[in-house]
C-alpha cells in the first residue's frame, strides 16, 4: 500500500481586480474547484493547510487564517495549519501536505492560497522598521540591490532582464486566464518606467486578487479518482535568514541548496527538467534561479536567456502560463498548478511536448526563504 504523495486536484479563481469579493470568497471558490477537479467532495478532506497572501496576513484579529477558512468550509480535519514563508509559502504548504499524507496524519490534504490586495484598500504600506527612515521601501528596492550586484559582477544588461519580461508575456498570450495577455517587445520593456534602478515597472510582478488550491493525497487513493496523480519526486527548502550578514545573500539564492537536494532525492539533474516553474516576483529572481538551480553557470544567466531560450518554443520554457509577471500573482500556487497541467498534458495551446519532469520554486520575503518541488507525470 503506497502512501506516496501525489497531486490529484487543482483549481483557481480568475486573477486580476475582483471587486466585491473577499479573499474568503476566492479561497472557497478555488477549494471547490480543486475538489471538483479530483472528483472528491468536502467530506473527503481531512487536512487543511493555508498560505494567506501578504495583504490579508496570517491573523484576522487573533484568529489564524486556517481556522477561519476551515470554519467557512465546515471542516474538522485531522491535520491543519497556516504557513508564513512569503512567496515560498505555497510551494512549502504543498510540500508539508505531502509530508503529512506520507506520515499518515491525513489522507486528503487541501492546500489553499488566496489574497485580495487590489480590493482591500491600504493593504500594502510603506516599509516598516528602521530602514524605512532611509527611504528603503518595498520588495522592489531589495531585489534591485541584487540586480545591481549582478550588473556589476557579470555585466548583466537591461536587455537580459527584459528577455525575462518579454518571455513571460509571450507565454501568457497563450493562457486564457492570464491577467496580462498582450505581448510586449523589448522596446516596450526598455521604455518602461524606472522604479528603483536598475529595475523597471515591467521587471515587477503583477498585483492580483485571486486564489488557488491544490489537493494532495496518496498514490493508492488516487487510483480511483478523476485525475491521474502527479507524483512528488523530490522536495526541499533552504533559507537565508541572516540576510545582510550572510556573505552571499544578494549574489545567490538558497535555491543553490534546495535545488540539488530536491533533484537529488528524485535522482535527477537540471538536465532532466522539461519545464521550470520559477518564482518570478522580479525578473532578476528568474536569472538568479537559472544559475542557482544549475540550468546555467553562475553569472551566465544573462546570455543564457538571449534569443528567447526561456520563451515559447525555447529550449527551457520557464513559466509557460506567464507566471507572476503575466499570469497573475498567485504566490507560488499557480506555478504548482501549471506544472500539474503540463504534466497531465492539459495545457491547451501552450502545452509542451513530452513534459514529464517539472521543477517548481517558491521564493519569499527579503530574499530569505526558498522551497523547491520536483513533480513528475
Amino acid at each position: 500500500m503506497s502512501r506516496r504523495a501525489v497531486i490529484v486536484g487543482v483549481g483557481h479563481t480568475d486573477f486580476g481586480k475582483l471587486e466585491g469579493r473577499t479573499a474568503w470568497h476566492l479561497e472557497t471558490e478555488a477549494a471547490a474547484a480543486a475538489l471538483s477537479d479530483a472528483g472528491l467532495g468536502p467530506s473527503d478532506v481531512d487536512g487543511l493547510i493555508t498560505d494567506p497572501g501578504p495583504a490579508q496576513g496570517i491573523l484576522d484579529g487573533i484568529t489564524p487564517h486556517f481556522l477561519r477558512l476551515g470554519a467557512q468550509l465546515g471542516l474538522d480535519p485531522d491535520y491543519a495549519g497556516s504557513e508564513l514563508l512569503g512567496g515560498a509559502g505555497s510551494v512549502a504548504i504543498v510540500e508539508r501536505a505531502a509530508l503529512a499524507v506520507e506520515a499518515g496524519l491525513c489522507d486528503v490534504c487541501l492546500c489553499v492560497y488566496g489574497d485580495s490586495p487590489l480590493s482591500t484598500p491600504g493593504s500594502f504600506q510603506y516599509g516598516r522598521g528602521d530602514e524605512a527612515a532611509f527611504g528603503f521601501f518595498g520588495a522592489v528596492g531589495l531585489h534591485a540591490l541584487a540586480a545591481q550586484r549582478h550588473v556589476h559582477r557579470y555585466g548583466t544588461t537591461a536587455e537580459h532582464l527584459g528577455e525575462v519580461a518579454v518571455a513571460a508575456r509571450a507565454h501568457a498570450s497563450r493562457t486564457p486566464h492570464a491577467q496580462k495577455r498582450q505581448p510586449i517587445s523589448m522596446d516596450d520593456y526598455l521604455a518602461s518606467e524606472l522604479l528603483v534602478e536598475p529595475l523597471r515597472r515591467l521587471d515587477c510582478c503583477l498585483v492580483s486578487d485571486g486564489a488557488a488550491a491544490v489537493l494532495v493525497t496518496t498514490e493508492e487513493r488516487a487510483r480511483d479518482l478523476a485525475q491521474p496523480g502527479i507524483r512528488m519526486l523530490g522536495h526541499a527548502q533552504a533559507h537565508s535568514l541572516s540576510t545582510y550578514a550572510s556573505p552571499g545573500h544578494f549574489d545567490a539564492l538558497p535555491a543553490a541548496r534546495s535545488g540539488p537536494k530536491a533533484l537529488g532525492r528524485a535522482g535527477l539533474t537540471p538536465a532532466d527538467v522539461d519545464v521550470a516553474l520559477l518564482y518570478d516576483c522580479f525578473t532578476i529572481v528568474v536569472l538568479l534561479q537559472l544559475e542557482d538551480y544549475g540550468f546555467c553557470k553562475k553569472g551566465e544567466s544573462g546570455p543564457f536567456v538571449e534569443g528567447g531560450r526561456i520563451g515559447p518554443g525555447g529550449s527551457l520554457p520557464v513559466n509557460p502560463s506567464g507566471g507572476l509577471l503575466a499570469e497573475g500573482y498567485g504566490s507560488g500556487m499557480l506555478h504548482v498548478i501549471e506544472a500539474v497541467r503540463q504534466l497531465r498534458g492539459e495545457a491547451g495551446e501552450r502545452q509542451l511536448p513530452d513534459a514529464e519532469v517539472a521543477l517548481v520554486s517558491g521564493h519569499g520575503l527579503g530574499m530569505n526563504t526558498h522551497a523547491t518541488l520536483v513533480l513528475g507525470s
Binding site: 510603506y126 516599509g127 516598516r128 522598521g129 528602521d130 530602514e131 524605512a132 527612515a133 532611509f134 527611504g135 528603503f136 521601501f137 518595498g138 528596492g141 534591485a144 540591490l145 541584487a146 545591481q148 550586484r149 556589476h152 518606467e193 524606472l194 522604479l195 528603483v196 534602478e197 536598475p198 529595475l199 541572516s242 545582510y244 550578514a245 544578494f250
Partner: protein, 139 residues
C-alpha cells in the same frame, strides 16, 4: 528632504543605544566578548556563537558600497526621488542599509569607499554615507 514626514526609526530595548550613539555622532556596532564578532543590527545574543556577553563598540564609520539602488519613483512624500539607498559594508564587517549622499546618484558605484555623515531627522540623527577621500584617509 522634509524629514518630519518620513517614517522614523522605532528604537526598542535592543536598538535604543545605537540611536543614542548616533545622536552623539558615533556609529556603534555590537561586539561579542566571547568570540569577538562585530555585528548589526543589535540583537539579544551573538549571531555567531550565541553568547550574551555583548558590548557596544564605536567603529570608524568607514566602509564601502556593497550594492545600491536609485529610487527613480517617489514612494513617500517625505523622500522625493531621485535618491540612493545602499547596503554599506563597514570596514569592521557589519552591513547596514543607508543612503549615499553628497554626490549625484550617477556617481555612486559598487565598492566605492564611503564615510558616515550624520544627518538630523526629527529627533533622530541618521547615519548616512558620503564618498570618502580616495586615499582612504579620515574625512
Amino acid at each position: 528632504m522634509s524629514e518630519a514626514q518620513l517614517p522614523l526609526p522605532q528604537p526598542d530595548a535592543l536598538t535604543e543605544s545605537f540611536w543614542q550613539a548616533c545622536r552623539r555622532g558615533i556609529l556603534e556596532v555590537q561586539s561579542c566578548s566571547a568570540c569577538g564578532h562585530d555585528f548589526l543590527p543589535p540583537g539579544p545574543c551573538c549571531p555567531r556563537c550565541w553568547s550574551t556577553g555583548l558590548s557596544a563598540r564605536a567603529v570608524s564609520g568607514r566602509g564601502r558600497v556593497f550594492s545600491f539602488v536609485v529610487y527613480r519613483r517617489t514612494y513617500h512624500p517625505g523622500m522625493p526621488a531621485p535618491y540612493v539607498v545602499a547596503l554599506i559594508e563597514l570596514d569592521e564587517g557589519p552591513r547596514l542599509i543607508s543612503n549615499v549622499v553628497g554626490c549625484a546618484p550617477e556617481e555612486v558605484a559598487i565598492d566605492m569607499p564611503v564615510q558616515v555623515r550624520f544627518e538630523a531627522a526629527g529627533e533622530f540623527s541618521l547615519p548616512r554615507f558620503a564618498p570618502a577621500a580616495v586615499d582612504g584617509g579620515d574625512a
